[in-house]
Structures are given as structure tokens and as C-alpha cells.
């Protein structure tokens, strides 16, 4: 059995984070605020090539870009 999210190019971790985000957003307001704080992520990352650091990019942006790419591929 292949999963729909896998076919569209998501990794398991991305699938989990999307699912978790949906659950958090559907909570009641008071609980939601506390829960959404647990889902915050402000990481920046850089690829290194031959001992040189590349550009600093936001992980959230890169994830969104790769997800968008994956969805255009599947549709």
C-alpha cells in the first residue's frame, strides 16, 4: 500500500507536522494558543560545500517551497 502523501513527495516527518498543525488549529481558543506555541519553529539552516558555508535560509520557507514543488509535480 502506498500512501497518498508519500506519492505526492512528502516525507513522513512533514506529513506528521502537517497533521499536528491541523490538530492544533482545530483546538478551542484557550488550548490552541498554548498548543501552537509548541509548534513554533524558527530555524535557519545553511548548506556547506567543501568547507564553505552557503546562504542562511529559513527552514520554514524551504519546507514550504519543497512542498509547493511536490504538489505541482503530483497534480
Amino acid at each position: 500500500m502506498t500512501f497518498a502523501w508519500k506519492a505526492s513527495g512528502l516525507t513522513y516527518n512533514k506529513y506528521l507536522s502537517v497533521a499536528a498543525r491541523v490538530v492544533r488549529r482545530s483546538l478551542k481558543d484557550d488550548k490552541r494558543l498554548a498548543a501552537e506555541r509548541r509548534g513554533e519553529m524558527e530555524l535557519r539552516f545553511a548548506k556547506w560545500n567543501n568547507g564553505k558555508q552557503g546562504d542562511n535560509k529559513s527552514v520554514a520557507d524551504a519546507n514550504a517551497a519543497s512542498m509547493a514543488e511536490a504538489s505541482t509535480q503530483s497534480s
Binding site: 500500500m1 513554533e40 556547506w48
Partner: protein, 290 residues
Amino acid sequence: MMLSRAARPALKAVAPLRTFATLREIEDRLKSIRNIEKITNTMKIVASTKLTRAQRAMHESRKYGQTSNTVFEQAETKPLEGDDKKTLIVVASSDKGLCGGIHSGLTKRVRKMLIEKPNADIVILGEKCKAQLSRSSAKNIQLSFAGIGKDIPTFADAQAIADQISLLPSDYGSIQIVYNKFINATSYEATPIEAFSEEAIVNSPNFAAFEIDDEVLSNLREYALSNALFWALAEGHACEQSARRNAMDNASKNAGDMITKYQILFNRTRQAVITGELVEIITGAAASEE
């Protein structure tokens, strides 16, 4: 300061302004040390409040990570042996300094591992270890992450990191996550935890008992990686806070010692200046009497 004190008797006759200046200097010095003490003390208090929260998060995530590892313990998974497979070392440090030697402890451990496996790749979480490792082994670095350690690490952080790691082009035989293990409030140890590759999981002796489909295996591996990362980040964070508390405690104590020392020096110098002035006045008066 000792030099100027010793030189004072000679200088006093020539330029009385100089003694005044040293007095001023000592006063300025005292003031700045007092300010530093205030700052370190505040940082200590902040770190202690954060520490209790970080420790709670650490205990929870440790339980979580250990539960996730139970699968591999039961399956008796072992890292793959063989030189053809590359090793990936993930270093879980953070962005912030002023917390004693916990970052350099990690760096030392990683360097030791690199001597054994010189072609291993490194992924670095946090600016501090990045700065240290980029000096010695920049060629091995594949990815670096920043923005870690502002607050208690979330599972979303760990997931995003695990995701980027699994997107790396090379196929790694074993992934070692090096983090600071929390032993007690004053001692930490840089320890690696193993995150297994798919092959290693398949080859584990008791693997058949779990009846896992081949297709979901890669999911398990990714999930286990982010679990392990989450554990390492949370425990490293708790260590950092506790190390910062200790470092700031020591800094405040040292500042206190210096304050008392300078206070005594200040009083003595002031006394000496007054005595000197008195001597001058009395000699002047005695001379003009005749």
C-alpha cells in the same frame, strides 16, 4: 594597581594630581565590577527559572526518546559494521554562549570521533559548535542550523531538522547524535546516541517479531531520527541552562571577591591621600609660624 601604590610616595611630591587620578581609577573600576556583578546575578536568576522548565522538558523527552528506542533494543539492532558506509555526526549544541565549557566539550568529543572516522559528515545544530568546528574540520560539515536554544526545543524543531537530514544526498550507514548528557546539576557528558539506518534495522536479529512492512520502514526510520533529535535537543538545552546557572554563579562570586578587594584598596588609598594632605598642611603651617 599595586604598582601605582608602590610608586605613590615618590609621585606625591611631584604631582599630587596623580594620586587623585588613581583614586578615581579605582572608583571607576569598582563601579564597573559592581555593574558586571549585577548583570551576572540577573542572568543567573533567569537561568535558574529557565532551568526548572528545561529539566521538566528533559525528563519528558528522555522518557519519550527511550520509549522510541525500546523498539530497537527489543529488535537488538546494531549499527552496521563496514567501512564503505559513511557515518553522519549530528552535534546538538546551541546558539548562545556564556555557559561554561559545554559547547567545547561537545566539540572535543566530535573531534575525537573524527580521528577515528576522518571521512564522516557533520551536521551542526547551533552557532557555537559551528564556529568551533568550522575552524578544525570545515570540510566535513554538510549542514548547519541556527536559531536553536532560544527556548525549550519543540518537536517541530526536531522534525524540521530530521527532515533536512533525510534530504541529504548521501546514504549513511549510521547516524550518531552527540549531545550533552545530564548527569547532575554540575556534570555533563558529551554522549552519542545512535539513530539507525534502514539496513541496520532490517538486519537486526529480532526484527521479524515486529512484522513491519518494508514500505513503512523508512517512515519508522525518519520518525525515530526526529525522536532521537528531540531527546538530544531537550537534554542539551537543560544542560546548557544548568551550566549557565553555574557559570553565572561563579562569575557573581568572583565579582564579589573583586569588589571587596577593590573596596579595601580604595579605602586605603583614600586614607593615604588624606594623610598626605594633612602632612602637607601641618608642615606648611609649622614653616610659616617661624
